[in-house]
Protein backbone atom coordinates (compact mmCIF):
# COMPACT_ATOMS: atom_id res chain seq x y z
CA UNK A 1 0.00 0.00 0.00
CA UNK A 2 1.38 3.37 -1.00
CA UNK A 3 -0.34 5.42 1.70
CA UNK A 4 -1.17 4.86 5.35
CA UNK A 5 -4.61 5.30 6.91
CA UNK A 6 -5.39 8.59 8.60
CA UNK A 7 -5.69 7.90 12.34
CA UNK A 8 -9.11 8.06 13.95
CA UNK A 9 -9.85 10.60 16.71
CA UNK A 10 -12.80 10.95 19.03
CA UNK A 11 -15.99 12.57 17.76
CA UNK A 12 -15.92 14.61 21.01
CA UNK A 13 -18.89 15.99 22.92
CA UNK A 14 -19.91 18.73 20.47
CA UNK A 15 -20.82 16.92 17.24
CA UNK A 16 -24.55 17.62 17.37
CA UNK A 17 -24.77 20.91 15.46
CA UNK A 18 -22.68 19.44 12.66
CA UNK A 19 -23.85 15.83 12.38
CA UNK A 20 -27.35 15.73 13.94
CA UNK A 21 -28.42 19.40 13.83
CA UNK A 22 -32.19 19.07 13.38
CA UNK A 23 -32.55 16.47 16.13
CA UNK A 24 -30.83 18.85 18.57
CA UNK A 25 -32.63 21.97 17.37
CA UNK A 26 -29.83 23.74 15.51
CA UNK A 27 -30.57 25.87 12.47
CA UNK A 28 -28.80 23.64 9.93
CA UNK A 29 -30.33 20.95 7.76
CA UNK A 30 -29.64 17.33 8.74
CA UNK A 31 -28.42 15.04 5.99
CA UNK A 32 -29.38 11.97 8.03
CA UNK A 33 -31.82 11.50 10.88
CA UNK A 34 -33.62 8.85 12.91
CA UNK A 35 -36.19 8.06 10.20
CA UNK A 36 -35.09 5.40 7.71
CA UNK A 37 -38.53 4.42 6.46
CA UNK A 38 -41.34 6.73 5.41
CA UNK A 39 -44.88 5.40 6.01
CA UNK A 40 -45.18 4.12 2.42
CA UNK A 41 -42.03 1.98 2.59
CA UNK A 42 -42.90 -1.71 2.22
CA UNK A 43 -42.38 -4.07 5.15
CA UNK A 44 -43.08 -4.37 8.85
CA UNK A 45 -42.55 -0.95 10.38
CA UNK A 46 -40.69 -0.92 13.66
CA UNK A 47 -38.82 1.30 16.04
CA UNK A 48 -35.32 0.38 17.16
CA UNK A 49 -34.46 2.01 20.45
CA UNK A 50 -32.09 1.67 23.38
CA UNK A 51 -29.48 3.31 25.51
CA UNK A 52 -25.71 3.29 25.65
CA UNK A 53 -24.11 2.52 29.01
CA UNK A 54 -20.58 3.23 30.19
CA UNK A 55 -18.49 0.99 32.43
CA UNK A 56 -20.29 2.27 35.54
CA UNK A 57 -23.69 1.47 34.04
CA UNK A 58 -24.41 5.16 33.57
CA UNK A 59 -26.36 6.06 30.40
CA UNK A 60 -24.24 8.02 27.95
CA UNK A 61 -25.77 11.35 26.91
CA UNK A 62 -23.38 12.20 24.09
CA UNK A 63 -23.14 9.11 21.91
CA UNK A 64 -24.01 9.07 18.23
CA UNK A 65 -25.47 5.91 16.73
CA UNK A 66 -25.58 5.21 13.00
CA UNK A 67 -27.34 2.23 11.45
CA UNK A 68 -27.23 0.68 8.00
CA UNK A 69 -29.59 -2.08 6.95
CA UNK A 70 -31.28 -3.89 4.09
CA UNK A 71 -34.93 -3.28 3.26
CA UNK A 72 -37.73 -5.72 4.06
CA UNK A 73 -36.76 -7.81 1.02
CA UNK A 74 -33.12 -8.03 2.08
CA UNK A 75 -31.84 -5.55 -0.51
CA UNK A 76 -29.49 -2.65 0.21
CA UNK A 77 -30.45 0.71 -1.21
CA UNK A 78 -28.22 1.40 -4.21
CA UNK A 79 -28.91 5.04 -5.00
CA UNK A 80 -30.46 8.23 -3.68
CA UNK A 81 -33.09 8.05 -6.43
CA UNK A 82 -34.07 4.54 -5.40
CA UNK A 83 -34.40 5.66 -1.78
CA UNK A 84 -36.61 8.58 -2.81
CA UNK A 85 -38.85 6.28 -4.85
CA UNK A 86 -39.32 3.60 -2.20
CA UNK A 87 -39.42 5.78 0.91
CA UNK A 88 -36.66 3.69 2.45
CA UNK A 89 -33.20 5.23 2.95
CA UNK A 90 -31.37 2.33 4.56
CA UNK A 91 -29.22 4.57 6.79
CA UNK A 92 -29.93 6.65 9.88
CA UNK A 93 -28.19 8.69 12.53
CA UNK A 94 -29.35 9.57 16.05
CA UNK A 95 -27.67 11.11 19.10
CA UNK A 96 -28.48 10.03 22.66
CA UNK A 97 -28.72 13.56 24.06
CA UNK A 98 -32.27 14.69 23.26
CA UNK A 99 -34.55 12.04 24.79
CA UNK A 100 -35.31 12.54 28.49
CA UNK A 101 -34.07 9.06 29.36
CA UNK A 102 -31.16 9.24 26.88
CA UNK A 103 -32.54 6.75 24.39
CA UNK A 104 -31.59 6.70 20.75
CA UNK A 105 -34.33 5.68 18.32
CA UNK A 106 -34.84 4.82 14.67
CA UNK A 107 -38.07 4.44 12.75
CA UNK A 108 -37.47 1.82 10.13
CA UNK A 109 -38.71 -1.47 8.71
CA UNK A 110 -37.57 -4.87 9.83
CA UNK A 111 -34.84 -5.95 7.41
CA UNK A 112 -35.03 -9.13 5.37
CA UNK A 113 -32.09 -11.53 5.28
CA UNK A 114 -29.51 -10.05 2.90
CA UNK A 115 -27.83 -13.35 2.02
CA UNK A 116 -28.69 -17.02 2.23
CA UNK A 117 -27.86 -18.33 5.69
CA UNK A 118 -27.68 -14.88 7.30
CA UNK A 119 -30.21 -13.91 9.91
CA UNK A 120 -31.83 -10.49 9.45
CA UNK A 121 -29.72 -7.83 11.13
CA UNK A 122 -28.86 -4.16 11.32
CA UNK A 123 -25.25 -2.94 11.28
CA UNK A 124 -24.40 -0.29 13.85
CA UNK A 125 -21.66 2.30 14.30
CA UNK A 126 -21.21 3.63 17.85
CA UNK A 127 -19.17 6.72 18.56
CA UNK A 128 -18.92 9.18 21.45
CA UNK A 129 -16.61 11.31 23.53
CA UNK A 130 -14.19 8.92 25.20
CA UNK A 131 -13.84 6.50 22.33
CA UNK A 132 -11.01 7.21 19.96
CA UNK A 133 -12.18 4.99 17.13
CA UNK A 134 -15.83 4.19 16.36
CA UNK A 135 -17.06 0.73 17.30
CA UNK A 136 -19.03 -1.61 15.03
CA UNK A 137 -21.77 -3.83 16.38
CA UNK A 138 -24.87 -5.51 15.03
CA UNK A 139 -28.53 -5.93 15.99
CA UNK A 140 -30.25 -9.30 15.60
CA UNK A 141 -33.90 -9.96 16.41
CA UNK A 142 -35.30 -12.02 19.28
CA UNK A 143 -38.18 -13.36 17.14
CA UNK A 144 -35.82 -14.79 14.51
CA UNK A 145 -34.56 -17.60 16.72
CA UNK A 146 -34.33 -20.16 13.95
CA UNK A 147 -32.47 -17.87 11.53
CA UNK A 148 -30.26 -16.68 14.39
CA UNK A 149 -29.33 -20.28 15.21
CA UNK A 150 -27.98 -20.69 11.67
CA UNK A 151 -26.26 -17.31 11.34
CA UNK A 152 -22.47 -17.75 10.94
CA UNK A 153 -21.57 -14.56 12.83
CA UNK A 154 -23.69 -15.43 15.85
CA UNK A 155 -22.58 -19.06 15.72
CA UNK A 156 -18.93 -18.01 16.03
CA UNK A 157 -19.59 -16.22 19.33
CA UNK A 158 -19.62 -17.82 22.78
CA UNK A 159 -23.27 -18.33 23.80
CA UNK A 160 -23.10 -15.87 26.69
CA UNK A 161 -21.88 -13.07 24.43
CA UNK A 162 -24.42 -13.79 21.67
CA UNK A 163 -27.18 -12.41 23.86
CA UNK A 164 -25.63 -8.94 23.75
CA UNK A 165 -26.59 -8.69 20.07
CA UNK A 166 -30.23 -9.76 20.33
CA UNK A 167 -32.85 -7.00 20.38
CA UNK A 168 -35.98 -7.65 22.47
CA UNK A 169 -39.32 -7.27 20.77
CA UNK A 170 -42.23 -5.39 22.34
CA UNK A 171 -45.58 -4.96 20.62
CA UNK A 172 -47.18 -1.74 21.83
CA UNK A 173 -50.29 0.14 20.81
CA UNK A 174 -48.10 2.53 18.80
CA UNK A 175 -46.46 -0.33 16.90
CA UNK A 176 -43.64 -2.80 17.16
CA UNK A 177 -40.42 -1.82 18.83
CA UNK A 178 -37.15 -3.58 19.45
CA UNK A 179 -34.96 -2.71 22.38
CA UNK A 180 -31.20 -2.82 21.89
CA UNK A 181 -28.96 -1.48 24.65
CA UNK A 182 -25.24 -1.07 24.07
CA UNK A 183 -22.86 -1.70 26.96
CA UNK A 184 -19.36 -0.39 26.37
CA UNK A 185 -17.85 -2.39 29.24
CA UNK A 186 -18.67 -4.81 32.05
CA UNK A 187 -19.82 -8.43 32.27
CA UNK A 188 -22.43 -7.84 29.56
CA UNK A 189 -20.14 -5.79 27.30
CA UNK A 190 -21.66 -5.70 23.83
CA UNK A 191 -19.82 -7.62 21.14
CA UNK A 192 -17.90 -5.17 18.94
CA UNK A 193 -16.50 -6.30 15.61
CA UNK A 194 -13.17 -5.78 13.94
CA UNK A 195 -14.80 -4.85 10.69
Amino acid sequence: MALKQTPSQTVGPYFAYGLTPEQYGYDFRSLFGPVLAEPQAPGEHMRLTGRVFDGDGVPVNDAMIEILQADAQGRFVASRAEAAASGFRGFGRCGTGTHASLHYWFDTVKPGAAAAGDAPHIDVIVTMRGILSHAFTRVYFEDEAEANSRDPVLAALPAERRATLIARRAAQPGGVSYRFDIRMQGPKETVFFDL
Binding site: L3, T6, T10, G18, L19, Y26, M128, L132, F136, T190
Partner: protein
Protein backbone atom coordinates in the same frame (compact mmCIF):
# COMPACT_ATOMS: atom_id res chain seq x y z
CA UNK B 1 -22.37 8.10 -9.94
CA UNK B 2 -22.06 4.66 -11.58
CA UNK B 3 -23.97 1.85 -9.95
CA UNK B 4 -21.54 0.03 -7.74
CA UNK B 5 -21.81 -3.60 -6.85
CA UNK B 6 -22.86 -4.12 -3.23
CA UNK B 7 -19.68 -5.97 -2.43
CA UNK B 8 -16.13 -5.45 -3.58
CA UNK B 9 -13.08 -7.63 -3.12
CA UNK B 10 -10.23 -7.15 -0.68
CA UNK B 11 -11.26 -4.22 1.43
CA UNK B 12 -8.16 -3.37 3.40
CA UNK B 13 -8.43 -3.97 7.18
CA UNK B 14 -8.41 -1.29 9.84
CA UNK B 15 -4.71 -0.63 10.39
CA UNK B 16 -4.43 -0.71 14.16
CA UNK B 17 -0.83 0.53 13.90
CA UNK B 18 -2.32 3.82 12.68
CA UNK B 19 -5.32 4.17 15.01
CA UNK B 20 -5.42 4.90 18.76
CA UNK B 21 -6.16 2.11 21.22
CA UNK B 22 -9.60 2.27 22.88
CA UNK B 23 -8.11 2.52 26.35
CA UNK B 24 -5.73 5.43 26.36
CA UNK B 25 -4.84 6.40 29.95
CA UNK B 26 -3.96 10.02 29.19
CA UNK B 27 -7.46 10.64 27.83
CA UNK B 28 -9.47 9.92 30.96
CA UNK B 29 -12.91 9.43 29.43
CA UNK B 30 -11.67 6.32 27.64
CA UNK B 31 -11.38 4.45 30.96
CA UNK B 32 -15.15 3.91 31.29
CA UNK B 33 -16.15 4.08 27.64
CA UNK B 34 -13.65 2.17 25.54
CA UNK B 35 -14.49 -1.48 24.81
CA UNK B 36 -12.28 -3.76 26.91
CA UNK B 37 -12.69 -7.09 25.15
CA UNK B 38 -10.91 -8.01 21.94
CA UNK B 39 -12.86 -7.04 18.82
CA UNK B 40 -14.45 -10.04 17.12
CA UNK B 41 -13.42 -10.57 13.49
CA UNK B 42 -16.21 -10.48 10.91
CA UNK B 43 -16.06 -12.52 7.74
CA UNK B 44 -14.62 -10.37 4.99
CA UNK B 45 -17.65 -10.25 2.74
CA UNK B 46 -19.69 -8.77 5.57
CA UNK B 47 -17.21 -5.97 5.99
CA UNK B 48 -17.51 -4.76 2.43
CA UNK B 49 -20.96 -3.34 2.50
CA UNK B 50 -21.26 -0.05 0.66
CA UNK B 51 -21.54 3.30 2.40
CA UNK B 52 -24.98 4.93 2.71
CA UNK B 53 -26.39 6.69 -0.33
CA UNK B 54 -26.53 10.46 -0.69
CA UNK B 55 -26.01 12.85 -3.56
CA UNK B 56 -25.25 16.38 -4.68
CA UNK B 57 -28.89 17.29 -4.15
CA UNK B 58 -28.34 16.83 -0.39
CA UNK B 59 -25.69 19.56 -0.22
CA UNK B 60 -26.67 23.25 0.00
CA UNK B 61 -24.88 25.90 -2.08
CA UNK B 62 -23.19 27.44 1.00
CA UNK B 63 -22.68 24.26 3.01
CA UNK B 64 -18.90 24.36 2.31
CA UNK B 65 -18.54 28.03 3.26
CA UNK B 66 -18.63 28.35 7.06
CA UNK B 67 -17.99 32.10 6.79
CA UNK B 68 -21.39 32.53 5.12
CA UNK B 69 -23.59 29.50 5.85
CA UNK B 70 -24.81 30.88 9.19
CA UNK B 71 -24.14 34.61 8.73
CA UNK B 72 -26.96 36.73 10.18
CA UNK B 73 -25.84 40.34 9.95
CA UNK B 74 -22.19 40.34 8.95
CA UNK B 75 -19.03 38.31 8.72
CA UNK B 76 -17.76 36.02 11.47
CA UNK B 77 -14.77 37.30 13.45
CA UNK B 78 -11.39 35.63 13.14
CA UNK B 79 -8.80 34.59 10.67
CA UNK B 80 -10.31 33.35 7.36
CA UNK B 81 -8.76 30.09 6.13
CA UNK B 82 -9.20 27.75 3.22
CA UNK B 83 -9.10 24.11 4.24
CA UNK B 84 -8.51 21.96 1.19
CA UNK B 85 -7.23 18.50 0.46
CA UNK B 86 -7.89 15.15 -1.12
CA UNK B 87 -9.54 11.98 0.09
CA UNK B 88 -7.58 8.96 -1.11
CA UNK B 89 -7.49 5.25 -0.44
CA UNK B 90 -4.34 3.43 0.59
CA UNK B 91 -3.52 2.71 -3.03
CA UNK B 92 -3.47 6.46 -3.71
CA UNK B 93 -6.73 6.36 -5.69
CA UNK B 94 -9.04 9.34 -5.23
CA UNK B 95 -12.28 8.70 -3.36
CA UNK B 96 -14.78 10.65 -5.45
CA UNK B 97 -18.25 11.87 -4.47
CA UNK B 98 -17.71 11.12 -0.83
CA UNK B 99 -19.28 13.18 1.93
CA UNK B 100 -16.95 15.25 4.11
CA UNK B 101 -18.62 16.78 7.19
CA UNK B 102 -16.76 19.22 9.46
CA UNK B 103 -17.48 21.03 12.72
CA UNK B 104 -15.36 23.27 14.90
CA UNK B 105 -15.13 25.97 17.57
CA UNK B 106 -15.23 29.64 16.60
CA UNK B 107 -12.21 31.97 16.68
CA UNK B 108 -12.63 32.44 20.44
CA UNK B 109 -12.57 28.70 21.12
CA UNK B 110 -16.30 28.40 21.77
CA UNK B 111 -18.57 25.76 20.27
CA UNK B 112 -22.18 26.53 19.43
CA UNK B 113 -23.14 23.27 21.15
CA UNK B 114 -25.52 23.90 24.07
CA UNK B 115 -23.40 22.01 26.57
CA UNK B 116 -20.22 23.99 25.87
CA UNK B 117 -19.87 26.24 28.93
CA UNK B 118 -16.48 27.76 28.11
CA UNK B 119 -16.52 31.44 29.11
CA UNK B 120 -15.80 32.79 25.62
CA UNK B 121 -18.16 34.59 23.27
CA UNK B 122 -20.38 32.97 20.68
CA UNK B 123 -20.27 34.59 17.25
CA UNK B 124 -23.76 35.39 15.90
CA UNK B 125 -22.45 34.94 12.36
CA UNK B 126 -20.75 31.60 12.83
CA UNK B 127 -22.22 28.14 13.38
CA UNK B 128 -19.03 26.18 12.72
CA UNK B 129 -20.48 23.30 10.69
CA UNK B 130 -20.07 22.51 7.01
CA UNK B 131 -20.00 19.72 4.45
CA UNK B 132 -19.25 18.99 0.84
CA UNK B 133 -18.76 16.10 -1.55
CA UNK B 134 -15.34 15.35 -3.03
CA UNK B 135 -14.89 15.86 -6.77
CA UNK B 136 -13.69 13.27 -9.29
CA UNK B 137 -10.11 13.72 -8.04
CA UNK B 138 -11.12 13.31 -4.42
CA UNK B 139 -10.73 17.03 -3.67
CA UNK B 140 -12.71 18.88 -1.04
CA UNK B 141 -12.68 22.55 -0.11
CA UNK B 142 -13.96 24.58 2.84
CA UNK B 143 -13.75 28.27 3.63
CA UNK B 144 -13.86 28.83 7.36
CA UNK B 145 -12.40 30.69 10.36
CA UNK B 146 -9.39 29.37 12.21
CA UNK B 147 -10.74 27.75 15.40
CA UNK B 148 -9.43 28.87 18.79
CA UNK B 149 -8.02 26.66 21.53
CA UNK B 150 -10.33 25.89 24.45
CA UNK B 151 -10.04 24.38 27.92
CA UNK B 152 -11.45 20.98 28.85
CA UNK B 153 -11.67 19.00 32.04
CA UNK B 154 -9.26 16.17 31.35
CA UNK B 155 -6.51 17.45 33.67
CA UNK B 156 -5.70 20.76 35.39
CA UNK B 157 -5.61 23.62 32.88
CA UNK B 158 -5.94 21.25 29.93
CA UNK B 159 -6.39 23.03 26.57
CA UNK B 160 -7.20 21.39 23.27
CA UNK B 161 -5.01 22.46 20.37
CA UNK B 162 -6.75 24.24 17.49
CA UNK B 163 -8.57 21.60 15.50
CA UNK B 164 -11.38 20.89 13.05
CA UNK B 165 -13.47 17.72 13.39
CA UNK B 166 -13.91 15.63 10.23
CA UNK B 167 -16.42 12.85 9.48
CA UNK B 168 -16.15 10.79 6.28
CA UNK B 169 -17.83 7.72 4.83
CA UNK B 170 -15.65 6.69 1.88
CA UNK B 171 -16.93 3.99 -0.44
CA UNK B 172 -17.70 1.31 2.13
CA UNK B 173 -19.58 1.04 5.38
CA UNK B 174 -16.28 -0.06 6.91
CA UNK B 175 -14.24 2.85 5.50
CA UNK B 176 -15.98 5.28 7.86
CA UNK B 177 -13.59 7.68 9.55
CA UNK B 178 -14.14 10.27 12.28
CA UNK B 179 -11.03 12.30 13.01
CA UNK B 180 -9.59 15.74 13.75
CA UNK B 181 -7.33 18.02 11.73
CA UNK B 182 -4.68 20.02 13.58
CA UNK B 183 -2.51 22.98 12.59
CA UNK B 184 1.27 23.00 12.03
CA UNK B 185 3.47 24.30 14.82
CA UNK B 186 0.79 24.25 17.52
CA UNK B 187 2.62 24.05 20.88
CA UNK B 188 -0.45 22.44 22.51
CA UNK B 189 -0.07 19.26 20.43
CA UNK B 190 2.68 18.05 22.74
CA UNK B 191 0.30 18.33 25.71
CA UNK B 192 -2.87 16.94 24.13
CA UNK B 193 -3.75 13.36 25.12
CA UNK B 194 -6.23 13.00 22.25
CA UNK B 195 -3.65 13.86 19.59
CA UNK B 196 -1.04 11.84 21.48
CA UNK B 197 -3.35 8.81 21.60
CA UNK B 198 -2.58 8.06 17.94
CA UNK B 199 0.65 6.08 17.57
CA UNK B 200 3.88 8.01 17.02
CA UNK B 201 4.64 7.97 13.33
CA UNK B 202 0.91 8.03 12.53
CA UNK B 203 -0.34 11.03 14.50
CA UNK B 204 1.71 13.42 12.37
CA UNK B 205 -0.72 12.63 9.51
CA UNK B 206 -3.33 14.61 11.45
CA UNK B 207 -1.42 17.89 11.06
CA UNK B 208 -2.35 20.05 8.09
CA UNK B 209 0.23 21.90 6.03
CA UNK B 210 0.35 25.62 5.37
CA UNK B 211 -0.56 26.15 1.71
CA UNK B 212 -0.33 29.75 0.62
CA UNK B 213 -1.67 29.02 -2.86
CA UNK B 214 -4.90 27.31 -1.83
CA UNK B 215 -6.71 29.19 -4.54
CA UNK B 216 -9.11 32.05 -4.38
CA UNK B 217 -8.18 35.66 -4.39
CA UNK B 218 -4.66 36.49 -3.07
CA UNK B 219 -4.65 38.32 0.24
CA UNK B 220 -8.10 36.99 1.23
CA UNK B 221 -7.51 33.86 3.29
CA UNK B 222 -4.63 31.68 4.46
CA UNK B 223 -4.70 28.09 3.27
CA UNK B 224 -4.17 24.78 5.03
CA UNK B 225 -4.00 21.46 3.22
CA UNK B 226 -5.11 18.20 4.80
CA UNK B 227 -5.26 14.93 2.86
CA UNK B 228 -7.13 11.96 4.29
CA UNK B 229 -6.47 8.30 3.60
CA UNK B 230 -9.32 5.81 4.02
CA UNK B 231 -9.59 2.08 3.76
CA UNK B 232 -10.42 1.03 0.24
CA UNK B 233 -10.38 -1.85 -2.17
CA UNK B 234 -6.96 -3.46 -2.09
CA UNK B 235 -7.46 -4.82 -5.61
CA UNK B 236 -9.31 -3.56 -8.67
CA UNK B 237 -12.60 -1.94 -7.63
CA UNK B 238 -15.53 -3.78 -9.14
CA UNK B 239 -18.17 -1.75 -10.96
CA UNK B 240 -21.37 -3.34 -12.11
Amino acid sequence: MPALSPLAPHLTPRDWASHPAYLSPGYKSTAKRGPTRPLVPLARSLGERRAPVYGHEDIGALDHDLTRNAAKNGEPLGERIWVTGRVLDEGGRPVANTLVEVWQANAAGRYVHKTDQHRAPLDPNFLGAGRCLTDAEGRYRFLTIKPGAYPWGNHPNAWRPNHIHFSLFGEYFASRLVTQMYFPGDPLLAHDPIYQSAPAGARERLISRLKLDSGGEPGFALGFEFDLVLRGAGATPMEA
